[in-house]
Amino acid sequence: MQTPYEILEVAADAGDDDIKKAYLRKVREFPPEREGAAFQRIRDAYERIATDKRRRQYRLFDRGLPDVEDLLARALKPGRPGRPDAATLIGALAEAAKQRGRGAGDPR
């Protein structure tokens, strides 16, 4: 999970001006009329750290949860894509064919 500082791409000790500049730059990049969801994320991040008071509140009371998948996604760097061998591929398909009791062909 990204911190508001990471979302706005500012340093953890950035001041009001730097944060506002970064916010405006991001809004130009993700305007609300075209990138609604991204804009909302940026806006929320800005709201959380826009002033010294809010940054203190964020540092004191924020309870960001540790996210394993986020940690792995940041660390894992895929190499050259390969192809599964025939037995692995057939094994995966047989796995689904045998598990029809768990939700037929579309288990998810």
Binding site: P66, R74, A75, R83, R100, G101, G105, P107
Partner: protein, 793 residues
């Protein structure tokens, strides 16, 4: 459940049949099968055989849902034995397939009617069979040699091998020979999609999206679609599908070390306890990155402060402040707010001691506010204390002022609330919310000048604010009344002009009434009549209009009779409807709270009308309680007595007996006499019996006030017979029901009492209470605290 067959005394067939029907109805097929088998041992009745066949089939489906396919297949075969000539169903074939019973499946397919497995709804079964045949040739034995699956199987295997070897053209050649309706058609799409994945992801996605939803190839196709469109690696959704995960990992090109790390971290995340996860992350700290690992472990500390030493060994010591902060957040997570608050206070102490940190007061204030937020419902006094300290440290926080004022109001501490409201207004002089609160508070304190001043400020910011306008109009009217009383007509006119400017549409009846008074004093009878008629029309309710008019006339020192010819008198021969009556009583309450004088004179003309209105059947119990409350608050005891007695006669709650007694005492508990006290005590028991909490609370409170009002040196001026005193002491020790029984002698006598006039009933109760015979004279009881006996009612 105990088996019915094991019961010691054998059951009759009728009983067993009843049991079987019950088990079938409750979907307890296992038990139903046992009972029906027992029945059939006694007699081969066709109806029982049919029921047993259906029970086998239903039970087969039940166990199949639990994944017990072998048992399901056996139960289906039992069902088929009882239903002679029944053809194998697709679900039975599917259970054989899932149970891996190749030989049995081959036998069934060999003897199955032609076309069973070629029917359209057999497609899923056939596709599963075709795919399992790729993994193990034994499945081919269950099919006729010339079946399409058997014929296409070698080519599909070749196609898969060609794909794995990167020979895409060869793969396409093999797949071309597969017909479009083949059980391998979805696998063909998947293979083509996989081959296109690296160079042409758009085509790959298009091909994979065409894989049919019910196909066993669908999960892999969908996982690949998600992974390619979101540009992410497979998430935990594939945790239960290790072979699918292996395919995706191979396609994404992670090396063995990365895959091992991912497997271990995920495994630790699924295991119980944060400690294992933190240890695993620390083990892979280099691969995961130092900063990311530190952040992850730090975030884990809130959920599990026990891992703080582990964290500190890896990343260095935390400051005492940080330790306390993490423990406070942990307390909040555990919903242990007292512990959380203690840790937050420890943080504040540490900040106070650390003189070097910049702007510490703000951080301290923020922590105080945070604790106030945690404590506001459970410990409002702590919340108030925290908010006060926070505002002393940092006065610029309007939300804290608002919450503090609200909490002080709830705590019934208007003095402190006023202090903080004044500070808030000093801090935010142009804040509409605080100005509105300032108006309300000033009006409560009858500081009308202050209220008007706030209203003026508020109107500058919000020119259409109705509360501020109303307040200012009232302030001008108040001044105008004074000027009229002092016969300074020009000054009164100036005030009225200012009021008119604030009410340009003439919506205030009070303004029109006072305006009419000015016209009257200036000998403009027509102008006066016109304004008062307009005001009456605005009010709408004739009785209410009369009341308001009468109050305005008296407020400038005029007698009602001197001007009544200029106004339409209310029709006192009718009665007020429910809404008009409630509105009028509400208005009386407002006059009492201001307070205004001469209300009784203003009401005199309306008395018959009001008394008649209390009788109307449209008034429900709640309406009458509301009226009694309003009349009690307005101090209108004559009307209260009338309203309460009318409601009491309609057999409503004991609360009306209380209001009746309150009216007799004119609201003064010290005036409650011995009869009244006895009546209230009986009502208290009635209310307790009827669980009428409202009546209980009101009567109890009034009796307590009555006790408190008694003078300490009160001396009864009559001598109560000793036997009566002893009896009263004895009665005092009884519980309420026993007391009632002893005093009134049982339910029938209580019923009789209800039919007697109240005075007569009370006399009987008093006689029984103090143990007097019917021919003995009842003493005249004094009013407690009064010192002298009052005349008996």
């Amino acid at each position: 459940m105990r088996s019915p067959a094991k019961s010691k005394t054998p059951k009759s067939p009728e009983e067993l049949e009843r049991d079987a029907r019950r088990f079938l109805g409750q979907r307890q097929f296992k038990e139903a099968i046992l009972v029906l088998k027992d029945l059939l041992k006694r007699e081969r009745r066709p109806a029982w055989e049919d029921q047993l066949a259906q029970a086998y089939l239903a039970r087969a489906r039940q166990v199949a849902e639990k994944g017990m396919f072998q048992d399901a297949a056996m139960l289906w075969e039992n069902h088929a034995q009882l239903c002679k000539g029944v053809a194998p169903s697709l679900e039975y074939l599917d259970w054989l397939l899932q149970a891996g019973q190749v030989a049995r499946l081959g036998q069934v397919l060999g003897s199955a009617p032609a076309g069973l497995i070629d029917a359209p709804d057999a497609a899923r079964f056939l596709e599963s069979l075709a795919i399992l045949a790729l993994e193990n040739d034994k499945w081919l034995k269950s099919l006729p040699a010339d079946h399409p699956i058997a014929r296409q199987h070698p080519r599909v295997k070749e196609a898969i091998a060609a794909y794995a070897a990167g020979k895409d053209a060869e793969m396409k050649d093999y797949l071309q020979a597969i017909p479009s309706r083949s059980p391998y058609r979805n696998l063909g799409l998947l293979l083509k999609g996989l081959a296109a994945l690296a160079d042409n992801p758009g085509t790959a996605r298009e091909l994979m999206s065409r894989v049919e939803p019910a196909s066993p190839c669908r999960l892999l196709a969908r996982s690949l679609l998600e992974a390619s469109s979101a540009d992410t690696e497979p998430g935990p959704a594939l945790d239960d599908w290790p072979r699918h995960r292996a395919v995706l990992e191979r396609l994404q090109g992670y090396d063995k070390a990365q895959l091992a790390m991912r497997r271990d971290v995920r495994k630790a995340a699924h295991a119980r306890g944060t400690r294992t996860l933190v240890e695993t992350v620390l083990r892979y700290r280099t691969q995961l990155g130092d900063a990311a690992s530190q952040r992850f472990c730090f975030l884990s500390l809130v959920g599990c402060p026990e891992t703080i030493p582990l964290y500190e060994r890896a990343f260095g010591k935390l400051t005492p402040f940080e330790r306390s902060r993490l423990k406070a957040l942990h307390g909040e997570e555990e919903r242990n707010y007292p512990e959380a608050s203690n840790h937050w206070f420890a943080c504040i102490d540490l900040l106070k001691r650390d003189g070097t940190a910049a702007r510490q007061p703000l951080t301290q204030a923020l922590i105080h506010r945070h604790v106030a937020g945690l404590a506001r419902h459970e410990a409002p006094e702590l919340a108030i204390d925290c908010l006060e300290q926070s505002l002393e440290l940092e006065p610029d926080d309007r939300e804290s002022y608002l919450l503090l004022i609200e909490l002080l109001e709830q705590a019934d501490d208007p003095k402190a609330g006023q202090v903080w409201l004044d500070r808030a207004l000093k801090q935010y002089p142009a804040d509409p919310e605080f100005l509105g609160l300032g108006i309300q508070s000033a009006l409560r304190r009858k500081s009308f000048k202050k209220a008007a001043s706030y209203a003026k400020s508020l109107l500058k910011i919000d020119p259409i604010n109705s509360q501020a306008r109303q307040c200012l109009v009232e302030a001008h009217l108040g001044h105008a009344r004074k000027q009229l009383k002092a016969q300074r007509w020009d000054l009164a006119e100036a005030e009225l002009k200012a009021a008119r400017e604030l009410d340009p549409q003439g919506r205030s009846p009070a303004l029109l009434y006072v305006d009419g008074l000015l016209a009257f004093f200036q000998a403009d009878s027509e102008g006066c009549r016109d304004r008062w008629n307009r005001a009456h029309a605005l009010v709408g309710n004739g009785a209410m209009a009369w009341l308001q008019w009468a109050m305005e006339v008296q407020s400038v020192g005029l007698a009602l009779s001197s001007v009544s010819r200029l106004v339409q008198a209310p029709d006192t021969k009718t009665s007020l409807d429910r809404a008009a009556l409630l509105a009028l009583v509400g208005q009386l309450g407002r006059y009492a709270s201001e307070p205004r004088q001469h209300v009784s004179q203003a009401l005199a003309k309306l008395m018959p009308l009001l008394k008649r209105s209390f009788k109307q059947p449209a008034l429900g119990e709640d309406d009458l309680v509301g009226l009694c409350q309003g009349l009690a608050a307005a101090g209108q005891y004559e009307l209260l007595g009338e309203c309460a007695s009318k409601a009491w006669r309609r057999n409503f709650s004991p609360v009306f007996g209380y209001y009746d007694e309150l009216a007799r005492c004119k609201g003064d508990p010290a005036r409650l006499d011995f009869h009244g006290e006895g009546r209230l005590r009986l009502l208290l028991d009635q209310a307790s019996f009827a669980k009428d909490k409202r009546a209980l609370a009101l009567i109890d409170q009034f009796l307590q006030q009555h006790e408190e009002s008694r003078l300490p040196d009160m001396d009864f001026p009559f001598s109560m017979p000793e036997q009566a005193l002893e009896r009263l002491e004895g009665l005092d020790k009884l519980d309420p029901f026993e007391l009632l029984n002893q005093v009134l002698g049982g339910y029938e006598e209580v019923e009789k009492l209800g039919q007697l006039p109240e005075k007569e009933a009370m006399d009987i109760v008093m006689r029984k209470l103090i143990g007097l015979a019917e021919d003995e004279e009842l003493p005249i009881f004094p009013s407690p605290g009064g010192g002298k006996p009052r005349k008996r009612r």
